[in-house]
Symmetry: C2
Subunit: 385 residues, 2 copies
């Protein structure tokens, strides 16, 4: 169901030949209203793909009729021709649906630098194909059409009293903040104005997608979009809506983590008793980006020295010699000295919990990452993406 769970939405997925596998590769999600309020957040990478440049303009008035997404090509660093392709794609959607192209978001994912005439022709054919297949039950088809190296579709729904949120996501590599290499479409039939959607979306992504840092690499094409149809006729409180939206974003973020390219372990790095939330995030991110620690987890080695070496590179407030580190419940380091035997740590399960106690304040944050494995190297050396 995913993006067609909430009332007022139709979706479709279509195989337009962009993927050599012949799988579905173009998705369309349409908001039938009555409201067409929307919000979106984009990659903070200054190297932005053409669909991002386009979509940033579209979202500026807070109104979106439809979003079209393709896998099989990022349309990034393809110059003026590539931007014209994005524009033509939005025009084609507008014509097929009878809406303004200025209300059509575009997302692309795949190899950077690919976006030639063949790509354009296939995308435009894909728009026609998806538009003719739109259905209130097309959510799963759409969720499959946006996948790249993902091993399965990511969908989530949250049901509330009379209103709901549904979502689909893709992303399996280049998962880093601001955002990850991911495309996410979230739909709701709650009746909320775009300013509220925007605030809720930024609040939700700040503590979910932005804290997923699989491999420290930031994408050029990331986009998280929230579309609200108002079809339930219900206006939930901002708090209730933000809570539900955050829950669905966390659900999807953890699905992305669990399907990260080549990963053997899902690592949650929880920093507690920090002087500020920013400090906790900085510390968690430094550990999440430490290749030596990530390789050690792959090798089931509870190498807390590499954790502290990473913590020491940050500007966070702490006493370097009064930090505790626990791994999967075993306090292997207490006040900067070896404590419980590292042999007690069981790193066989996929889930790994690293707890870093900075002992200087009351703030905390969790960063989610993955281990560094042979399969990660294999997938990213053998596959051009």
């Amino acid at each position: 169901m995913s993006v067609t769970k909430a009332k007022g939405f139709e979706a479709a997925g279509f195989a337009a030949g962009l993927k050599s596998s012949g799988d579905r590769d173009v998705a369309l999600v349409v908001n039938r209203g009555p409201s067409q309020a929307a919000a979106a957040v984009f990659t903070s990478n200054r190297a932005k793909a053409n669909p991002i440049l386009w979509s940033e303009q579209v979202i500026s008035d807070g109104t979106v009729s439809a979003i079209v997404l393709n896998s099989g090509g990022a349309n990034c660093y393809t110059g003026a021709f590539g931007f014209q392709t994005t524009h033509a794609t939005a025009e084609a959607v507008g014509e097929a649906l009878g809406v303004s192209s200025g209300d059509v978001l575009v997302c692309s994912t795949g190899l950077i630098g690919s976006g030639d005439q063949v790509f354009r022709d296939k995308v435009l054919a894909g728009v026609a194909g998806t538009a003719s297949r739109l259905s209130p039950h097309g959510g799963s088809d759409a969720a499959h059409a946006i996948l790249t190296t993902d091993s399965h579709a990511k969908e989530a729904v949250v049901d509330r009293d009379g209103w709901s949120i549904g979502a689909m996501a893709k992303g399996a590599g280049m998962l880093a903040p601001g955002l990850a290499t991911m495309l996410v479409v979230i739909t709701t039939d709650a009746d909320l104005p775009s300013a509220t959607l925007d605030a809720a979306l930024r609040a939700a992504t700040r503590v979910t997608f932005d804290r997923l840092d699989s491999d420290g690499c930031m994408s050029t094409n990331d986009q998280v979009t929230l579309l609200a149809s108002g079809a339930s006729g219900i206006t939930p409180s901002v708090d209730d809506f933000t809570f539900a939206l955050t829950a669905i974003c966390r659900d999807l973020a953890l699905q992305l983590q669990g399907d990260a390219e080549g990963s053997d372990h899902d690592i949650a790095i929880e920093t507690i008793n920090a002087a500020s939330e920013d400090d906790a995030v900085e510390v968690g991110r430094a550990v999440a980006r430490n290749n030596l620690f990530k390789a050690a987890v792959f090798g089931k080695d509870p190498n807390w020295g590499r954790v502290l070496a990473a913590v020491g590179t940050t500007r966070a407030e702490f006493d370097p010699y009064d930090i505790d580190v626990s791994i999967n419940g075993v306090r292997v380091c207490r006040s900067g000295e070896p404590d419980e035997p590292r042999e007690l740590v069981d790193l066989n399960p996929r889930a790994v919990h690293v707890l870093i106690d900075l002992k200087v304040g009351a703030a905390g944050a969790t960063i989610w990452t993955n281990d560094l494995t042979h399969d990660y190297v294999h997938e990213n050396s053998a596959y051009s993406s």
Copy 2:
């Protein structure tokens, strides 16, 4: 010869049982004078090993009689007991040589968190063993004793008219700025005061060791030490000395790069026409830390999209759509669009040159890194360090 090339120095290496392999693991370098001027730079990691805490005190007066180094244990995060071990090590050297322990630098490398009574006993026995073997020809023995996962010793010498510089280094992983996971001892018989040595050493390391970023991980034990005996009786100009010192540091940095754990390629990332040197360094470092790009090089895939995606994460001054990227002489991206065919790029040689033209200024810098390989993952998942 290395550290005993310059007149006035003796050195030795000894197998004290710290390494399970039985290889040499304690090194001693002694400055017989007449001058004992010295300078040192240390890791900028706030998580500093006990030998760093000790050596920062020793170097503060610019006078050093000897430096003792051990592999087989980092003596980091070993608490007060570990600091006492470092102190006792310096005391033992002082007694053996008849010098003040306050003029004895200590370096350790190996597993963080290891530094128990057995470690202490072996190090102290190692001090006696090396002190009894000191020789003006002991440079190579010392260079072997400091190795960890290195596949071979790193030595270099520079000869000038009447004076010379010799050096030894170890380092094969955790190579990142500030500094790399490395220990370096440089000796010279030039007659220069410690303030001049300090300025020259900082100038040289800034453009050599600090621009080596093999795996983005910063160590807790790094130290680069420069000892000057004055035994040549010659005082070269500051410029001549700094030039020679920079040459020897670059030589060693490239030796470290060439022996980086599990690496298949040595990658030089040269950024040109930047608005400032800082910008060029930031851009180069961002690319050097991009796992996706590094895995692509391992796979011999000239994936310039990953280069631009990394460049886009920086704050450097540039137009994201007017950047050129060449890989091994082939301009695969011109003004942000595909240019020469990527198939022309030959990534079979070990040496890889990535040239990034930001087109906004006249500054430049080169960062040296390595690819991300199966062997890197294997070595760092199977080996506790």
